[in-house]
Symmetry: C2
Subunit: 148 residues, 2 copies
DNA sequence: TCTTGACTTAAAGATAACTTTAACTTCTAT
DNA sequence: ATAGAAGTTAAAGTTATCTTTAAGTCAAGA
């Protein structure tokens, strides 16, 4: 089964211009062309595009993703480099999850803060509350926010 | 205790130009000035900047963060709106964590894939492996990547 | 064959979030 | 009083990731 750029874009949920842009940037060296110059995406290419999508979601810039694709095109000599890259990216994702988890706790604190403000009619109640008065799970968060 | 823009920037670990930019964009209406026009950051402002930093890390655009700051400046009439905004942002962070967790599993699969390729000397071994041959935890991932 | 919709490229435009530059002012220490 | 570090602004520049536009080409159906 082959797809045009529009069909593949729809399948991936992106704009056709995005795929053309990626191709221009050298991220899609595996895409073949018809006699007339039309891009012909194959099912195997779908998997490449999913990998690109995945790496992009880890926050990897396109030029680094391109490096990865180039290595894959180069063949089995680059297996160790690709492994190292994937490992590094996995660690980076673990860090991001860690950071988001901390941010989540700050937002939970702020939610409590505004819920309290709402029942009391004013933010000055939760704001001026003594450390021991607030739920224990939020004490550390408030200290961090206020700069120790 | 008051701080100049450079001192506060150092305390936060950002460039002074970033704080000036935020101020120009209207995110720092609480910052006062000296007679001569020098910004005077106070300890209470540090907390505001931490909140801005936190919202930024949730992926909120600066113009939305500005809206939040404006509401806070407007006083207790906006408590419910602020609560709603924080709740929405908390949900958004939960979604992001969820998504990153899925991406993490893809990277774990890819790591296994390249580790196997490394011991076998070629990617064709893990690539052409039957679904039942691969670790059960990665079967679903590979199906997703290949498009069912 | 002709029409029409989707394809092609190169180049310009959009957007967010800063950063840099240039010209000038303020503050602090001697 | 003055030097120099750090402050001020407006405006232009940067980077990343696309999107849009313009002018033209390809491919499939009537």
């Amino acid at each position: 089964m082959v797809y045009t750029v529009g069909e593949m874009a729809k399948r991936l949920g992106v704009a056709p211009s995005t795929l053309r842009f990626y191709d221009k940037e050298g991220l899609l060296p595996f895409v073949e062309r018809s006699e007339g110059g039309i891009r012909l995406f194959k099912d195997a290419d779908f998997e490449w595009l999913r990998i690109i999508e995945c790496l992009k979601k880890t926050g990897m810039p396109l030029k680094d993703i391109k490096e990865f694709i180039m290595m894959a095109m180069a063949g089995d000599d680059t297996i160790e480099d690709r492994l190292a890259l994937i490992q590094k990216q996995r660690e980076s994702v673990e860090q991001k999850i860690q950071e988001l988890t901390e941010i989540h706790q700050v937002l939970r604190f702020k939610q409590w803060y505004y819920e309290t403000a709402k029942t009391e009619g004013t933010t000055s109640v939760p704001r001026s509350m003594a450390l021991e008065e607030l739920p224990e799970e939020f004490r550390e968060v408030r200290k961090q926010l206020r700069g120790e």
